[in-house]
């Protein structure tokens, strides 16, 4: 076997050992192993997911050879689950792969407790009725669920989890936590000992911008009754002031200071996103609260007390022009403050745990530390039951999508993807599935879509004839390229859910394979 560290090197750089361990502990159940399901699992097996269970009751037929890479001519007539499972096992011998030859619908109807053994269920190509039932089963069993479907040039992906809290959301762009406009005493003191007007040109051009900006902000506040620049004019003036301090044209540190001056203007305190989490009723913790919410409760106390309105300091600084010594010392200063903040939060976590009758050490130091480091980036995702969305979607949103040109195809597909399931419930076939009845199917699908819209409370809204035609043309085809796309999206989301890193999508992702103007709908 290959050294896993080398094999997984390119992904360890993204989610680290912790993320990898989470993947290796996870067990995934796949319902229906057509190309959409098979491709989803392929991407997870390659990444080293713990175990997979493939559930499918069908036999491989000729048509499957044209859209599913996991079956080949020698598989004809054999159980599809078995063939797909065998191919997936070939991709990674570290994964435990097994299959169950059974129709998912039967399993949902007859053996709901089957699903509680898994970390996550990927349900592909299910019709509405089965989706609703499975959703209820997984929600009750506290199993994560993801729906995926490919249908002609359209498709969707939808997560269903009661609550998914993310500590390591790892956003691409996020304001550094430098406290330039609100320095703590040690940073202030450190800055006091620096002379910006040093006559040594080498020292002058190697003063890091953090120090320049803290000093300049203080100087500015002194002349402006304690206030920092807020108007456009003042901001411009502040930048001019920085510029006036340069003594040579090659002083990159001053250029960086001007570019970073917006960090001085940024509001103090915590963001509205974080406020929303602190104000969530879940932060009123009791014995059954999750570790995440216990830590949120501690964070809330910290911000109100020791933090003075700020979250714990993150403790890292970006690279900037500086002498090695000043940079390293600054780094240590930030780390020391972060450590001090962490210790306070840790104590509060332990106290809260004790208060609610739990083992005060049941949350590890490492977890609390990571929580503190990421406190400003915490994210909570919640997902409605699919039945709730189906029966009573958020009407104003629906109406907005129906009238917004950017969304018109995506929301059209959303409605039609539901309409084809109603159609199949009524006529035992999908519209356009067989040649010869196209005209009739088109008008039947139209009627179905109109009645669905009116059931949702969108009377008077219509879909274009072209799109209805298009949906009939698809005839429930599962095209490989579309399935590979949907499977790719599904597997990316599964990885985010299992590693608890990055932020999973919210809402329903509608794939638009006509011009790729896919959309997320929040209904």
């Amino acid at each position: 076997m290959a050294e896993p560290k080398t094999k997984y090197d390119r992904q360890l750089r993204i989610w680290g050992e912790q993320g990898q361990t989470a993947l290796e502990k996870a067990s995934i159940c796949l319902l229906n192993c057509g190309p959409t399901g098979s491709e989803t699992l392929k991407n997870l097996v390659l990444g080293g997911i713990g175990s997979i269970t493939v559930v499918d009751g069908s036999k491989v037929e000729n048509g499957d050879l044209g859209n599913n890479f996991m079956v080949s001519e020698s598989s004809l007539g054999q159980p599809k689950a078995k063939c797909v499972c065998a191919f997936l096992q070939e991709l990674n011998d570290a994964v435990k792969a097994k299959f169950i030859e059974e129709h998912p619908v039967t399993l949902i109807e007859t053996n709901p407790s089957f699903f509680s053994q898994f970390t996550l269920v990927v349900a592909t190509q299910l019709v509405e009725d089965s989706m609703v039932k499975l959703d209820r089963i997984c929600r009750d069993a506290n199993v994560m669920l993801l729906f995926a479907r490919s249908y002609g040039l359209s498709g969707f992906v939808r997560i269903s989890v009661k609550e998914h809290a993310v500590i390591e959301s790892k956003p691409d762009h996020f304001l550094d936590d430098l406290r330039l406009n609100n320095p703590w005493p040690e940073l202030k003191e450190f800055t006091e000992n620096i002379d910006l007007d040093t006559s040594d040109p080498v020292a002058h051009k190697h003063t890091p911008y953090i120090l320049i900006l803290v000093k300049m902000a203080k100087e500015w506040a002194k002349g402006h009754s304690g206030k920092l620049p807020s108007t456009r004019e003042e901001k411009k003036e502040f930048k001019e002031l920085i510029k006036s301090k340069t003594i040579a044209t090659d002083e990159d540190n001053y250029k960086e200071a001007i570019e970073a001056s917006f960090k001085v203007f940024a509001p103090q305190g915590i963001s509205s996103d974080l406020t929303r989490i602190l104000d969530d009723t879940c932060s009123e913790v009791e014995s059954g609260s999750s570790d995440f919410w216990v830590m949120v409760a501690a964070l809330k106390e910290f911000i109100a007390n020791e933090g003075g309105g700020e979250a714990p300091l993150e403790g890292s600084i970006p690279d900037m022009t500086s002498s090695t010594e000043l940079y390293v010392n600054l780094q240590k200063l930030y780390q020391a403050k972060a450590e001090a903040d962490f210790l306070v939060v840790e104590q509060r976590v332990r106290d809260i745990l004790k208060k609610i009758g739990r083992d005060p050490y049941s949350i590890s130091k490492a977890v609390i530390k990571s929580f503190c480091k990421n406190a400003r980036k915490l994210t909570v995702c919640r997902y409605k039951l699919i039945e709730e969305e189906f029966n009573s979607p958020i009407l104003p949103e629906m109406q907005k999508y129906l009238t917004d040109e950017e969304y018109s195809v995506a929301v059209g597909f959303y409605i039609l993807l539901r309409a084809v399931d109603r159609f199949s419930a009524n006529y035992n076939t999908f519209p356009g599935q067989f040649d010869g009845a196209m005209d009739e199917d088109i008008s039947r699908l139209k009627t179905t879509a109109v009645s669905l819209l009116s059931d949702l409370g969108c009377n008077g809204s219509t879909l274009t004839e072209d799109l209805i035609n298009e949906m009939c043309r698809y005839g429930a085809a599962e095209l490989h390229a579309v399935a590979a796309y949907i499977g790719g999206v599904a597997s990316q989301e599964v990885i985010k859910l299992i590693t608890r890193q990055f932020v999973p999508m919210r809402g329903t992702f509608i794939f638009n394979g006509i011009d790729h103007k896919s959309q997320l709908l929040s209904l």
Binding site: L46, G63, M505, I514, H516
Partner: protein
């Protein structure tokens, strides 16, 4: 119903829905029918450039999208670190050429598909090689530019539609390049910002980060200690040496964070890559390829970005052609007196503010007027330098001249091809209006960083 049963049992059951049935949201040239399906199988030839993370997916996707004539070109051999996403390769394949193994695996599983592998660099192939394909799909998931060293003469050739994909972590892009319709690579070159390089004085005097220490060991210390022996990033002993030197330096300065993994990442400029993102981007590229070839739906117009870092964001941007583009635009107009010699012309081109080209070689209608290299060609063409360009261009009053050479400064220098419209003063004539010559070189010149990963 007999018809329905036969359709149901056909291998092209699903694809047929799209290819045999008329639709309203389709391309202008769409002619549904079995003939279209057969044509895709028999006549359409697709080249996949790269057999890595995107290439493996692309070959599978295209083989299952109705195409039967595929070729793939890749100069790399399989490495262990490919196996987390390049699903056509197994541990026992490590060390074998990617293109050959990928082609073999797909042919084993999808009967009727023929894939010709080319285990070589893209610049090893003549331009004629590329002109034989209907569509070229680029699956180079690294966007770092590498010098495209080609002694090929720039030649007029039929431009090909291209589909291009790239990924990095949870993000990726797919784009469609249709000659004459969409922008070419050069028009939107700003989409690929140059790789950040640290100033040498930072590395030597004021290191602050682990990466600075690593680059010091890699770029400065290595040469000091190993005079004449060049650093090989694929040699583990070399990498280990750089790591240890970097660690020493970091300790000296009190800088945290130097690890072996980071050393590899910095030195090789490793771009993190995962299977799922590659699957998404490749699928989008394959779908666009099918649409361009068949007209069965509209095409992406013309640039798709996918970002799964925070939630899920997809965006389609319609970039427009840069009318002054040096590759697909009409070319820069240069007016000359008929007495201007080739040597004077070359000097003028090298000083031209828009061109900034050095070491220029000049061709006209495929004929070498002056070539800097190889020496034998240089010698053969040297005598032209003193002749008037007007005469060398057969006294046409206007014409298109191609100039190759090096453009850019310092580390960012790379080979380039520029198209110039030359007009001679005081002579009447009709403008030669060829379009978009050399856009393929433009594309490859910018996108040949595939030796790092894919």
């Amino acid at each position: 119903m007999a018809d329905a049963i036969s359709l149901q049992s056909s291998r092209s059951r699903d694809l047929d829905k799209l290819l045999l049935r008329p639709g309203h949201l389709v391309g202008p040239s769409f002619e549904p029918g079995t003939e279209l399906r057969d044509d895709l199988q028999q006549y359409v030839r697709i080249l996949v450039v790269g057999a890595g993370g995107l290439g493996c997916e692309l070959l599978k996707d295209l083989a299952l999208s109705g195409f039967r004539n595929l070729e793939v070109i890749d100069m790399d051999r399989i490495e262990v670190s490919n196996l987390n996403r390049q699903f056509l390769f197994r541990l026992e394949d490590v060390g074998k050429p990617k293109a050959e193994v990928a082609a073999k695996r797909v042919m084993e599983r999808v009967s009727g598909v023929n894939i010709v592998p080319h285990f070589c660099r893209i610049e090893d192939k003549e331009l004629e090689f590329y002109s034989e394909f209907s569509i070229i799909v680029l699956g180079l998931d690294s966007i770092e530019a590498r010098k495209y060293d080609s002694d090929d003469n720039p030649q007029e050739h039929t431009m090909k539609p291209m589909v291009d994909g790239g990924t990095e972590g949870f993000k990726g892009h797919a784009r469609v390049i249709l000659p004459g319709i969409t922008p070419c690579f050069e028009c939107t070159i700003w989409l690929f910002p140059p790789q950040v390089k640290f100033p040498l004085c930072t590395l030597a005097e004021t290191p602050r980060t682990a990466a600075h220490c690593i680059e010091y060991a890699h770029l400065i210390k290595w040469d000091e200690v190993h005079s004449g022996k060049s650093f090989d990033p694929d040699n583990p002993e070399h990498m280990q040496w750089v790591y240890l030197e970097a660690a020493k330096r970091a300790e000296l300065f009190g800088i945290p964070g130097v690890t072996y993994s980071l050393t590899q990442g910095v030195v090789k400029n490793i771009i993190p890559a995962i299977a799922s993102t590659n699957a998404i981007i490749s699928a989008a590229c394959a779908l666009e390829t099918l649409k361009i070839a068949s007209g069965c739906s509209k095409t992406l117009s013309n640039y798709l970005t996918y970002n799964g870092v925070e939630g899920l964001h997809t965006k389609v941007t319609e970039f427009v052609k840069d009318k002054d583009c040096l590759v697909c635009g009409p070319g820069i107009l240069i007016e000359l007196d008929t007495s201007v010699t080739l040597k004077m012309f070359i000097d003028l081109v090298e000083d031209h503010p828009k061109l900034l080209i050095s070491g220029a070689s000049v061709t006209h209608r495929g004929k070498n007027l002056y070539m800097q290299a190889p020496p034998v060609l240089e010698e053969m063409t040297r005598s032209n330098l003193s002749l008037p360009l007007f005469e060398l261009m057969d006294k046409f009053p206007k014409g298109i001249v191609h100039v190759t050479g090096m453009a850019g400064k310092g580390d960012k220098r790379q080979s380039c091809l520029r198209k110039l419209r030359v007009a001679f003063k005081g002579v009447d004539g009709i403008m030669d209006t060829d379009m978009a010559g050399g856009a393929i070189q433009g594309a490859f010149g910018r996108r040949t960083g595939w030796n790092t990963d894919e």
